[in-house]
Subunit: 356 residues, 2 copies
Amino acid sequence: MAHGGKPRPMKGIRQLAEHLDISIGTVSRALNGKPDVNEETRKRVLAAAEQLGYVANQSGRSLRQGTTNVIGLMIQSSRETVENSDNFFLTVTGGLQSVFSRHNLDLIMLPCPHDEDPYEYLKRMVARRIVDALILSETQRVDKRFDMLAKAKIPFAALGRSLSGVQHPWADLDFDGVANCAVDRLVARGHRRIAISTPASDINLGFVFVEGYRRALERHGIPYDPALVIRAKSSEQGGYQVADELLRLEDRPTAVILIYELMAIGFYRRVMEAGIIPGRDIAVVGFREAPRAKFLQPALTCFRTSLHDLGVELAEILLSSMPAYNHIYPNTKRQRTWPLELVPGESDAFHLTTGK
Amino acid sequence: MAHGGKPRPMKGIRQLAEHLDISIGTVSRALNGKPDVNEETRKRVLAAAEQLGYVANQSGRSLRQGTTNVIGLMIQSSRETVENSDNFFLTVTGGLQSVFSRHNLDLIMLPCPHDEDPYEYLKRMVARRIVDALILSETQRVDKRFDMLAKAKIPFAALGRSLSGVQHPWADLDFDGVANCAVDRLVARGHRRIAISTPASDINLGFVFVEGYRRALERHGIPYDPALVIRAKSSEQGGYQVADELLRLEDRPTAVILIYELMAIGFYRRVMEAGIIPGRDIAVVGFREAPRAKFLQPALTCFRTSLHDLGVELAEILLSSMPAYNHIYPNTKRQRTWPLELVPGESDAFHLTTGK
DNA sequence: ACGCGCTCCGTAAACGTTTACGATACTATG
DNA sequence: CATAGTATCGTAAACGTTTACGGAGCGCGT
């Protein structure tokens, strides 16, 4: 490879210092807002940097001070994620960034390849020291990643709870609260056989969801029937499959709670194929409100929340557990279940005992 | 084993060298596969690195050799993107990674915040030298970013064409080909007033799409009517709006081509509100095949493609324009329109002249 | 005069790696 | 035996930045 004899342009702080006829130490201090530099020289330095388009080389900086000013958001583009994530991650990302940018932190997304073990991938990213802190998503029931990050002393927060690493910081949608509310609402309308869907994978939110459902049933004195818990992919196809399985049951449920709004599309379709009208013959409650759920007929009863604000909260939780920032976000609650608001629709608007 | 028990975490190549009683130069050469190192010592070094969990610090490495082994994929999480991107980016990402990982390159996603100018954001990322090369998406009609990257001599490729930076490498869905094919098909069924939708933003694919449509009409001797080109967001709501606007026209079109499949959901809904049945009273052709389009009734005629393979192609295009890799991917065609395959549905299955 | 504290700035040593260069031992060749 | 060539390895200089340290200049109180 040409390793060349051309006089390199020396694009660095050194050139900037020479151009200003100041030592590079002073230039660096001026740029980084250190106190012991004359205000007037600082102005000169900043002006020159702006004019010459100088930006500190990240490698040099982070080599010296062991910090990168980059936060990583790890996502596993598993097939299931790919099929249903839609705007979820990007919306949360917006909230995260709105906080990080205030501290000159940049967010990058680390997509773990399908064919690579998430744990190994994360280990590599950590070892490379490319990020100062991490946000983990799609937390598993037991998730080795937490222990690893704790041992490596990398600050992190999770988008989702987990059973492992008990005390780690997280923010999570209030899955059990939603299941609870949905059951209450359906029971109040006379339903007693209520089905629920949960993801097929080991992702923890499914367990939390079903657990909330189970406790709510218990509170109402309704026996918990495992046959009414359907494991399915969180997609339209999954919803179709849920309906399919429920139709096969001898003692069919009169209501169903779907963990992803998109599933309702497939669910509607399948039951209508069987001549069953959602909102008249069976009650349906979905999870998050989503633009495309708005077009369902009858309108889906679901739960609204601001994913953007959830991102904001999660960012603050992360910063509060980073030594360099916890003086700015002190005592922030390290674990936060994020509330959702009921959006009543027509899909469960009938009372069972009064007929349709 | 020299020191029994658990070795404490590696601090750097220096400790690894001391542990092996070899100079750090040799260790580095061994790890990087340089030729002038004894095969047997190399094995020892690799084994020790594996055992002690040593991974080279990326900052030190990239500071020295000016390379990071990271490829950045810039995405602008604009509101429009957030609403319709669904699995698009993650799927393409999978294809990209399958190529990059063969060369020990990692892909990171750089999400430009809504409130930041994409150009400034990119400039910052480039200046920080955090990536070796870039993939740009959502290319605008005229896109300053290309010129900037060219001037900064950063290798890049684009997911999407542009009018600026004429000779830059890119891969792009065959928007004009699809528009062309759709028009041909509709004309063959007797349609002459054919509407088309295009995004409201300056994203280039809209122009390419409409241009293909315009030329196809011209070929059939059908006059181009600007009133039939509807600018709308690429979402269900956008589709609803397209239908709404078309219904207001005095001389209503008999067919419509939608640039995003999701729009069909809203479109169906709106025309059915007006008592118009898609596939009987109006012909509808969508763009990409998507899981949720499968649930439309009648089935949407649309176009299928593998976004994963598009990612593979794009990765190879990028590598072929990187000095360090172009010997591996020589003479790869630098610009590639990616084909789509027609998936006939029922939404345009009627012949206009024979009635319904 | 002297010392002290303060403000500002220059010097140089890190940070962890890669790599050009030279050194050593050994082998093959003349 | 001298020399050249080869295989292998150690040494030290970069890469660009931050920062501990010290020094110069100055004002001020004793």
